[in-house]
Every structure is written in C-alpha cells, then in structure tokens.
C-alpha cells in the first residue's frame, strides 16, 4: 500500500510496465520530393543543431496521402537519420507505408492518438515547405500547478514551474529549470548533456539535483540554508550552489 512496503527483500520484481506520456516533435510533410525535404531539413537543423541532435521524431504523412503523394519511407528514414534525428514512429501512413515502417521497426501510430497534445506539439512541428524566418532553439514549458509525488515531467526545452515540486516528484528538462516554489523532489536539468543548463528555485530542499548528469543528493545539500532563492550551475563537472 505505502511505497515503503515494497522494500520486502524476497523476490523483488525485476521489471514493471508503466504508462507514460511524452511530448515528441512531429515532422509534418507536405511534399514528397526527397531532395527538397533533405535540403529544407538541413536548413532547419542548422538553426538549432543542439535541439535536433538525437531528438526522437514522429513522422506525419497524412497531408501527403490526402494529396495522393506517395513517398519512399525507407529513403526518408535515411534522410532523417543523417543529421541525427531518431524517428520513432509514423502516423497517417497508407497501408503500404505502414507495412514498410514496421519492416524498419518503426512503430505505427493512429492519427488520433496525440490529438490532445496537438496544441503543445504545434510549436514543435517542423514544416519544411514553409520556412519561417526564425526558430527558437527550444520551447519553454510553463507549468502553473504543483508537481506532486509520483508525477514525472519532461521538457525538451526550458521548464518553468510556478508552484512547488513535491518530494517524490521528478522533473527533467533539456534546458534550464526555474521553480518559483519549493523544490523538494528531484530536478534534472540539461538531461541531453547541456552543461550550460542551470536550475533556479526559491527554496532548495531537493532529494536530488542534476545538471548534465552531474548530481548532488539530499545528503550533500544539508548545509544549504533553506527558504532562500538559489541557483545551481556546473563548474568543472561540479554543481555549484549560490544564493541569488
């Protein structure tokens, strides 16, 4: 019942299936000209190489199929992988395209799944034929409610939380983390290796803080005065904690 009771020593389960929601960029194609796609994709990525390196990606070919434009899924995957993108799914594909995707071990998603997060994904959608003048490196995720024990939150850019992060909660961001409340849980910034990432919070009582894989646990934080805004950043692979 309580989490503690799971610590019984005999026969601990080695695995567990859990359901989680992730926010993943979707690439919506509106042309099937592979040369143009490759060219425009590279132009996009040059604007924000850090953001796209090793980024998972879901491919959306619904628009193409509406216009009866077929596309070679295998070649397209090659083009996407070249600059470091990691395609993890396709949606809106034809029967034949889905079959090809599965043969390449790319999962097929229904077009409806993810509708609820369509708003959030819109900003991250890359649409090659409509070159915008500027792309921000990564979006900022703004959260106005507390993050409670047992909840986990991932942001592909900066993460701003206007409430507390409870003990037993975990927040992760590829960029910076700002918490305008007490941090009691775990906060991991720069999770894709960004050593410039920082964590800010108005009261540090964390279980764990981490920047680009370097971490401090609750024990290391005992000496830090509470009830004061602090910032954390990396210096020579060590997390420095300073009053703001």
């Amino acid at each position: 019942m309580s989490p503690d009771s799971q610590k019984t020593p005999y026969n601990p389960p080695a695995l567990e299936f859990k359901s989680s929601t992730f926010s993943v960029p979707v690439l919506v194609l509106s042309s099937n000209d592979l040369a143009i796609i490759e060219q425009q994709l590279q132009a996009k990525i040059r604007l924000a190489p850090e953001f796209f390196r090793n980024s998972p990606l879901v491919l959306d070919v619904q628009e193409l199929n509406k216009k009866d434009l077929d596309i070679d899924i295998a070649e397209l995957m090659e083009i996407l992988r070249k600059p470091g993108l990691l395609p993890i799914g396709i949606r809106g594909g034809s029967l034949n395209q889905n079959k090809k995707a599965l043969a390449l071990q790319i999962p097929v998603y229904s077009i409806n799944s993810g509708n609820t997060v369509a708003e959030a994904q819109k900003q991250k959608t890359i649409t090659p034929p409509a070159p915008e003048p500027k792309t921000s490196t990564a979006t900022t995720t703004l959260i106005t409610h507390p993050i409670r024990s047992g909840q986990r939150l991932y942001a592909s850019g900066d993460l701003v939380i206007l409430a507390q992060v409870s003990a037993g909660a975990e927040i992760l961001a590829e960029g910076n983390i700002h918490i305008y409340g007490t941090l009691r849980g775990r906060a991991l910034a720069g999770v894709q290796g960004n050593t410039e990432a920082r964590i800010f919070c108005s009261d540090l009582q964390a279980e764990l803080i981490s920047i680009a894989g370097n971490y401090k646990i609750s024990e290391d934080l005992q000496a830090i005065a509470r009830n004061k805004p602090v910032q954390m950043y990396l210096q020579d692979h060590t997390i420095i904690i300073k009053d703001i």
């Binding site: 019942m1 024990s149 909840q151 003990a167």
Partner: protein, 269 residues
C-alpha cells in the same frame, strides 16, 4: 446536476469514512438532498458508521450488475430524510466495480441529488481510482504525520492527472485539505506536524481541522455520524467544514490547544 465529492487520502485509517458520513449528514441537514456511496467493496464500513447495517438488502455491486435498481439499493437515513446511503458489498472483491458501471450510477444519481459523497477505499488501486475518477471536488483527508502527508500528495497528483476532468481537459477537480486527528498538545511536543507544516508541504486550501476526539469512537459505536453530536469538538469541526464548503465564512478552530476560561475551569474535552 449533482456535485460529486470524493473523500480520499491514499493512506488507510486516516478518517475517510468518518468524514464521509459526517459531511454527507451535514449537507443533508442543511437541506441538500445527498447520497453517500461506499466504494470500499469487500470491507463495508460506512453502513456501520451510519447505523444502517441491519437494513442493507442490495448493494452497490448489485446495482452495477443490474440485479437491483438504484431505488431498491439506496437506504434512507434514519435521522435525516434527505440523506441516502448506497452500501458496499461485503461478499465481492473490488474488481466487481467497473468504470462504466460507476459512471452510469453517478449519472443516474445526479438527476435527483444535489451532492454525491464518495467514500474512497485506501490505496491508489482500482477502488480508489473509481471513487475519484468522476469527482468535481476532492476532500483530501490527512493526518498530521509524514507518511499520511506524502500519500495525500501522491493522491493529489493522481487527481490532477487521472481523473475524468483531467482526461477531458476540463477545469480541474477542486481540492481541499481536511486535517484530521489533530492534537495540538502532541504538535507542541513535536510528535506531530503542525497545520502550518502540512499546508506548507501540500500547499492546499485548508477546509478544516478535525481534532483527535473520543467522540468519534462513541459516534461510530452508536451508529450516528459524529456531526450530530453537536456538543463534541469533532462534531463542531465537521459542521464548520460543511459550512465553509457551502461558502460560509467560519474562522478555523481546534488548531491551538488553548482552551477558553470555561475549558480551563471545567477541563472539558
């Protein structure tokens, strides 16, 4: 349309059933037609606290399975004719409840009742999930100790992400803190968390503090919700809670152990 209230906690034995019985009675006494549902299938408890255990013919699971109608299963309270109890089954296990079944019953009740109070079982498993899934308001019952506070926090996360309101992107469930079994003396001795500690950890709107009180045991032994014991501190605390929930402005009581002169002279408890 009824307002659906779930009384929940995560941790067991913190006072959910005591609270469900008290606030359901309080709402009915204020003139609102109220139903209180026992979601603790297999452990039937609410009917004992409400003193109707000898009048149970059909239960929640019978209605879900279509073996009885709602009207056949609802028991009218002996003290208040605006209050009805839907008891849990003792003979089934919690898998007898289904989301569709529960949703249908709540929808039917909503046509006729003003408030529906759902007494959640402990834990975060199926029964607790179904009790909170359709809720509009959540009364999070917490005892002033670390493990209870932690479990409440966990439950708040579930309310915020796994309820119908969350799934349908509606206005979130309104969450209220009910701090129960509070003992100012033990807080002073450092044996318990204070109201401020708990509120600081949970950052949640405090609906009321219910003191640790012998009257609760007396009430459950006699099968009458403690709110009907108007002289008792716990009864008064629950009356305040109902009034605040309905929008009345009542200052908080039972937070510090200071007794009035009367209390000092007569040692009332």
């Amino acid at each position: 349309m009824a307002r659906i209230i779930v009384v929940t906690s995560g941790k067991g034995g913190v006072g959910k059933t005591t609270t469900s019985a008290a606030i359901a009675m309080g709402l009915a006494k204020k003139g609102h037609k109220t139903a209180v549902i026992d979601f603790d299938v297999g452990l039937r408890n609410l009917d004992l606290i409400m003193g109707c255990e000898r009048r149970v013919v059909y239960d929640f699971v019978n209605v879900i399975n279509g073996e009885a109608t709602l009207n056949q299963a609802l028991i009218r309270d002996k003290n208040c004719n605006l209050l009805y109890i839907l008891p849990a089954s003792q003979t089934r296990d919690k898998d007898a409840l289904s989301q569709e079944g529960v949703g249908k019953i709540l929808e039917d009740l909503s046509k006729d009742f003003k408030y529906i109070v759902c007494d959640s079982p402990a834990g975060i498993e199926k029964g607790a999930h179904l009790a909170m899934y359709f809720a509009d308001d959540a009364f999070v019952v917490t005892n002033p100790e670390v493990s209870s506070v932690r479990d409440s926090d966990r439950m708040l996360g579930i309310l915020a992400s796994k309820s119908r309101r969350a799934e349908q992107n509606q206005e979130p469930i309104r969450e209220y803190l009910l701090l129960s079994r509070y003992s100012p003396d033990r807080v002073k001795l450092g044996e318990m968390l204070s109201v401020d500690d708990v509120q600081e950890i949970l950052s949640l709107h405090l609906l009321g503090v219910i003191p640790e009180s012998k009257s609760v045991l007396n009430a459950s032994n006699s099968g009458t919700p403690v709110i009907l014991d108007e002289k008792s501190d716990a009864g008064q605390a629950y009356s305040d809670i109902v009034a605040r929930y309905l929008g009345e402005d009542k200052p908080h009581r039972f937070i510090d152990g200071k007794k009035g002169l009367f209390g000092k002279f007569f040692g009332s408890k």
